[in-house]
């Protein structure tokens, strides 16, 4: 073998060029796929955002015109930003928090733990369309279970059109989202909890550490990487929320559940105009904002000192 390499070197092929061959062979296909399906669409969206896109590939350059209109004149966009921000912040905290509490219940071996695990995880397996329809029925004023229960407890005054009132619609949709995703976070937390070193937990118990102190000072610090990952994933998902809102409210009533994604869709396909430039500008602005938020969140929650145990 050694003599063969020497022979190639002798043939005048420099070692550096030869090192590129396996790199290209192994990375090339993945890079082509990445460029075609990720990079190109992103660049094309940025390009579109600087133009008014007319049919038959007729494009008119407007520079930052779309961005100017978006940031200075578009009231619905700012409503959508506010709604998405509320949805993302509260949704992320509730989602991850609920998942953690459910995981703790199972970790503490509550009765029927296996049964509860299946029950709590099963919403994750249901499609958004089905989840949306189920919850629209649950919230229905006349026959929905929420109002039925309230009436059963003689709380008729609290019975409400949950999705029909701008003050409650967003929170009703948010509750649905939490119901669907808490089970996923629970499973991830379960895996992390069972991966904790038993000797550290045992040592805490030997030191007469109470359950709350053990949770706050031992378990949570060790779960920090998991918490950060779930918070980031959840935040990204919620900043792009579309399906559940579209199925349940289509952004209504009075734009009270309009999110940035539903607004992009409406501008692109529902406004009886063919211009994809303006929706592209919204998408670019939102992409940058998501990037900034994720960087800030990751940076602020990053573990600076490595735990040793």
């Amino acid at each position: 073998m050694a003599s063969r390499i020497e022979a190639k070197e002798d043939a005048g092929i420099p070692r550096q060029s030869r090192d590129w061959v396996p790199l290209i062979v192994f990375l090339g296909p993945a890079l082509v796929v990445y460029a075609g399906f990720s990079l190109f669409p992103v660049l094309k969206t940025i390009y579109n955002s600087l133009h008014v896109m007319k049919p038959h590939n007729v494009v008119e350059f407007v520079g930052l015109g779309n961005y100017r209109s978006l940031l200075t004149h578009d009231e619905i966009f700012w409503k959508a930003v506010k709604n998405t921000a509320l949805f993302s912040v509260f949704g992320t905290v509730l989602d991850v928090g609920a998942g953690f509490l459910l995981a703790l219940c199972l970790f503490a071996k509550v009765p029927l733990a296996r049964f509860w695990k299946i029950v709590w995880f099963s919403p994750v397996l249901i499609s958004y369309v089905v989840v949306g329809i189920i919850w629209v029925w649950i919230y229905d004023y006349n026959w929905g279970i929420v109002n039925t229960v309230l009436r059963w407890f003689a709380l008729d005054a609290l019975a409400h059109s949950w999705l029909g009132d701008p003050h409650t619609a967003l929170w009703a949709v948010l509750a649905t989202q939490v119901w669907k995703w808490a089970g996923f976070n629970m499973i991830v937390f379960m895996a992390a909890l069972y991966g904790l070193p038993p000797d550290v937990l045992g040592a805490a118990e030997l030191d007469h550490c109470g359950w709350l102190a053990k949770l706050v000072h031992v378990i949570l610090p060790m779960l920090r990487p998991t918490v950060v990952s779930l918070l980031v994933l959840s935040l990204i998902g919620k900043m792009m929320v579309f399906d559940v809102v579209w199925i349940m409210t289509r952004g209504g009533p009075l734009w009270s559940t309009e999110t940035v994604s539903t607004y992009v869709y409406k501008r692109a396909f529902d406004w009886n105009t063919f211009d994809l430039g303006y929706p592209s500008a919204i998408a670019v602005v939102w992409f940058i904002l998501i990037l900034v938020f994720v960087a800030l969140l990751t940076g602020s929650l990053r573990q600076r000192d490595k735990l040793e145990y």
């Binding site: 619905i76 919230y139 701008p166 209504g252």
Partner: protein, 429 residues
């Protein structure tokens, strides 16, 4: 050894058969592709599929493939495939998708279609720049259906012209609500227009054809006193409990069931395509066989310009893709669908008006009295030929959907807020 020879022979034989099959001249297959909405209406599916089979029989070697979509899926599919120079040969189109025409994705059909079998007024909405761009199949009028028995039980008798005054209508709403009956079964959970039926019809009566067109065309202010008066009257209806409490989430199909099954309501304003859902077997969601269905006129407004005005619109229509290589064949399909006998079949099986000048009468069908009553309600009517949700666009359309379709009839907005929002989005001055 013998086994090896056997396997080799078998492989050679199969290879030979394969090559022979490839070499054989194949009969050329032409596929005419059609994308259509309304998969959930079996009678319409049956009519369109029947015409497809007729074309296949007339042209051996031609396959007609209809792909069935729901409305929203079809819009997205068309708006992504047509700009890419792809898409079907023929596609379903509605009048509010006119951007597909103005942006040049459809073929002008003037010389390709036999227009003698189509009502001229139904062709009219499809004429832009002097050319006709789609073939209408379904036409409808906006109607106010009611339960005859409930109306009688509440002590109301319809006047001979089948039209209550605005005061009588308000009294009916109040009395029904007091009796614990929902006056109007309407919901906006999945559509952008039904919540506006009462409001837009009242505006049409009050303003007349011309000013109604100017209002939604952006040339008449929503602050016009006549417009505000209509909004105030509708607000009275809303405050009197005209609509169900689950108005915001009740879906279109559910509102039909709500009206004629459970819990029951006095009225249901709906396009005359009501029949597509109601005139199916009861166990498939249709109205009970003995349901006392009636049709009344939308209420007369005080000091109205045109209380006999109605909205008449073109529903399902079909266009030919400008990029199709099969334009003659596509036109043949649309011509076949527009034959008078297919028009009659449509009326008899779909129980809905058609743009095709049909032969014979539908009076011998399953619902004989219905069609007669429908025709009686249209006698002497003056028509506005399109629904606002079909021609509005951009922010005006979005505001119409949020305000006039849902939040105002849903009781979330005052009259002042509603007219201000509409004016801000639609009035061009």
């Amino acid at each position: 050894m013998i086994r090896k020879i056997g396997i080799t022979c078998a492989v050679v034989l199969l290879l030979g058969l394969f090559v022979r099959q490839l070499a054989r001249p194949q009969a050329a297959i032409t596929t005419l592709s059609i994308w259509s909405h309304e998969a959930d209406e079996p009678a319409k599916v049956a009519v369109r599929e029947r015409v497809a089979r007729e074309i296949e029989r007339a042209h051996p070697g031609v396959r007609v493939v209809i792909t069935w979509y729901d409305s929203e899926g079809l819009v997205v599919a068309l708006k992504t495939s047509l700009p890419a120079g792809q898409g079907p040969d023929i596609f379903y189109i509605e009048t509010d998708w006119s951007d597909l025409i103005t942006d040049g994705y459809t073929l002008p059909l003037d010389g390709l279609i036999d227009w003698n079998t189509i009502y001229p007024w139904a062709r009219k909405p499809w004429i832009y720049d002097g050319k006709t761009w789609a073939v209408p199949q379904e036409v409808y009028t906006d109607e106010l259906y009611y339960n005859k028995k409930l109306l009688a039980n509440l002590g109301f008798t319809l006047p001979p012209n089948a039209q209550f005054s605005q005061e009588q209508f308000l009294a009916l709403v109040k009395k029904a609500r007091a009796a614990g009956i929902t006056p109007i079964a309407q919901g906006v959970g999945d559509r952008n227009y039904p919540g506006a039926y009462i409001l837009t019809q009242a505006l049409l009566h009050k303003l007349g054809l011309n000013d109604y067109g100017r209002l939604f065309g952006g040339h008449l202010s929503f602050l016009d006193p006549r417009v505000v008066a209509v909004f105030r009257w509708v607000k009275e209806l809303v405050d009197a409990g005209a609509y169900p409490k689950n108005f915001m989430t009740l879906k279109l199909a559910e509102s039909h069931y709500y009206f004629y099954q459970k819990p029951g309501a006095v009225m249901l304003p709906m396009g005359s395509w009501y029949t597509g859902r109601a005139f199916v077997p009861e166990d498939e969601g249709g109205q009970p066989g003995d349901f006392p269905l009636g049709i009344m006129q939308f209420p007369a407004m005080d000091d109205a310009a045109c209380n006999e005005c109605k909205v008449r619109a073109v529903g399902s229509s079909f266009a030919i893709n400008a990029a199709t290589p099969h334009r003659e064949l596509a036109a043949e399909y649309l011509n076949a669908m527009s034959r008078p006998e297919i028009g009659t079949l449509w009326i008899d099986t779909v129980h809905l008006q058609t743009a095709v000048i049909a032969q014979g009468s539908a009076s011998a069908t399953l619902y004989p009295g219905y069609y007669k009553e429908l025709m009686a309600r249209q006698e002497g009517a003056k028509y506005f030929d399109i629904d606002p949700s079909d021609f509005l666009e951009g922010a005006c359309l979005d505001t119409y959907v949020q305000v006039m379709n849902s939040s105002f009839p849903g009781g979330l907005l005052s009259v002042d807020e509603a007219v201000r929002l509409m004016n801000q989005a639609c009035y061009k001055g």
